[in-house]
């Protein structure tokens, strides 16, 4: 590994996460961005949600951005994390850690089974099968045949069973650190995974699946790896979600939840770690903030025609999303990183050291030394 990569991929991110860890200690306030002081529970809750959605967007990006799998059912695995952990704790009266382990185990097995089945088809058909499975999960959570999820009421977590440090307004900063820790963990796991040799195959599949097959590899197994990693991390994120929001509600089971993750990833930049994370953070922040802007006095004064759209965050974010898809492929991150070597080229170089065929490669030697 070159020194530049070590710095860019590990040292700088670590520095950023460590710096973010000091946020709950900040005493001042930033008037325009947040209504309350930074260290107040209100602001910290918003920030925790931002960090969590940054991480969830990144788990989706493993499939969509890095492997080129368009799934409409990612919410299913998040919902498994949100609901199953809570059901185990609150309805079955298990203690905390066994519930967490059980949830992760179920998510892992479920991702393997459903992934194996769904990945038999590709492209739009894959999107539809994942949507169908997620919809089945959503119906199950809504209809609640065993009286576990409590349907539309949602299921509040039994806080006596949760770790003391994660309960109550006074402990909001601990939840913030939990969300931050989860984001950091996902970030480094994704960095490690996508630069590993299977990770390079994922990116090659995204670029051109047929060529990967011609190189003698079986795409199905690699796609399943990416799917399982992404889904299992999503379930872990679901558990953090449950702790953050003190329970489970049907929102996370809906198809729209996956679509929103897709919006985040595309706005930030698919196939880029910082892109997906920033997309998730920005989206969540704006979604929260635009509601406040919508009811502010500046907007109140506007004529009705202008005011109505401004009061709807999803409208504005949807429009931004469309503009980015049309005019800025690669999202916000694409502004920074133009002309990086593509995943397929990396793979071919890794397999045949020094054998860059055509096209301008920034530095063929360092790329091949990192090889498989």
């Amino acid at each position: 590994m070159t020194r530049r990569r070590l710095l860019l991929d590990w040292v700088w991110p670590l520095a950023v996460f460590v710096a973010l860890a000091f946020v709950p200690k900040l005493g001042f306030s930033i008037p325009k961005l947040f209504d309350q002081p930074i260290s107040s529970p209100g602001t910290l809750t918003v920030l925790s949600a931002c960090l969590l959605f940054g991480a969830l967007a990144l788990t989706y990006d493993i499939q969509f951005g890095y492997t080129g799998l368009l799934s409409f059912g990612h919410a299913l695995y998040i919902a498994v994390g949100v609901y199953l952990s809570n059901i185990a704790i609150t309805e079955w009266h298990w203690s905390f850690w066994p519930s967490i382990l059980f949830t992760m185990g179920v998510a892992f097995v479920l991702a393997n089974v459903l992934g194996y089945v769904s990945l038999r088809v590709s492209g739009i058909a894959f999107a539809m099968v994942t949507l169908a499975f997620a919809q089945a999960g959503a119906v199950l959570a809504l209809k609640d045949p065993h009286h576990w999820t409590h349907g539309e009421e949602g299921l509040g977590a039994d806080y006596t069973k949760l770790p003391k440090a994660l309960v109550g307004i006074a402990n909001t900063k601990n939840l913030y650190w939990l969300a931050l820790g989860f984001l950091a963990a996902v970030f480094f796991i994704v960095r490690w995974a996508v630069e590993s040799s299977p990770g390079r195959v994922w990116q090659a599949i995204r670029e051109n699946e047929v060529r990967v097959e011609v190189l003698g590899l079986r795409p199905h197994a690699y796609k399943l790896q990416a799917f399982v990693l992404s889904s299992t991390l999503a379930a872990a994120g679901g558990i953090v979600y449950m702790l953050l929001y003190n329970g489970s509600s049907l929102g996370v089971t809906q198809p729209n939840f996956t679509l929103v993750l897709l919006l985040m990833v595309v706005i930030g930049g698919a196939g880029s770690r910082w892109g997906a994370v920033l997309g998730g953070i920005l989206y969540t922040y704006l979604n929260d903030r635009l509601i406040a802007v919508g009811s502010s006095s500046a907007v109140e004064g506007l004529p009705h025609v202008l005011r109505t759209p401004l009061e709807q965050p999803l409208f504005l974010l949807g429009v931004v999303f469309i503009l980015i898809v049309v005019f800025l492929p690669g999202g916000l991150a694409g502004l920074v990183a133009r002309g990086r070597p593509s995943g397929l080229r990396k793979l071919e170089e890794a397999i045949r050291p020094g054998g860059a065929t055509g096209g301008v490669v920034e530095n063929p030697m360092t790329e091949s030394q990192e090889g498989v």
């Binding site: 368009l70 590709s122 492209g123 539809m128 089945a136 709807q312 949807g318 898809v325």
Partner: protein
Amino acid sequence: MSTFILLTITGLGLGAMYFLIASGLSLIYGLMGVLNFAHGAFITVGSYTTWWTSVHVFEGVHSNLWHFILSALLGLLMGGIFAALVELILIRPLYARHIEQVLVTVGLQLAFVALVQGIWGPDPKSFVVPQWLHGTTDVAGAHIPNDRWIEITVAAIVLVLLQLFLRRTRYGLIIRAGVENRAMVQALGIDVRKAFTLVFAVGGVAAALAGVLSGVYFNVVGPEQGTSLLIFAFIVVVIGGLGSIGGSAVAAVVVALTQQYTNYYASAGIGDMVVVLLLGVVLLVRPRGFAGAVVGGRA
């Protein structure tokens, strides 16, 4: 027995709406390879235009049949125009980039639902219809709501018209050929892009019609109604085979009846679940659906 008849005819009424939505989706996917999420918006344009016209132009009393028909026709017109504009402005610039096209329609659908909620609020609006539609007709002891006949008849007429259009007109021929092999049609020197706009407009009108009928069926129109119908229409399209109108019609009936029977005889909600699992099974066992092009074969 009377329950069974009621379930069957209600199922056919629901299937009629699925078919109207699925026929457009199916043609659009078959011809262009675009999975059109914005179809939900077309449904909403139809239902809300009709509702708005009836309230603001005809002052709310729909008991007049002609006022209702005029409002509905305006809804269909708006649906068609809106769909054609979506194709021209958003889909065409992304020609042949299928994933981006899907993403744009997803964004449009989400933004549109939010906009409708912003303007008219999240609550469903009551949809006033001519008096006769509130009555029932007795068939073998079952009290069938009259609106079901309208839905079934309209869908049957649309099915016949679409088939005539596809089989008897020049544009229909181009569309059918394009679904089979778009590259060859282009190689023959025919501008397929006009056909793209046309299928969007036709699909938009059919979806708007489904929107109007959903107002009649549920007695309300709401911002989320289009989205929930859309998911089942997707299922119908895939099971029926992409690009096949006949397949969509059969699949719409199968899906709607399965849903109705299971929801009643098993337990509410199980029907929805059986249908989505049916989709999974069909895709995995028979990726072509009952008839039509290979799903995802054009990626």
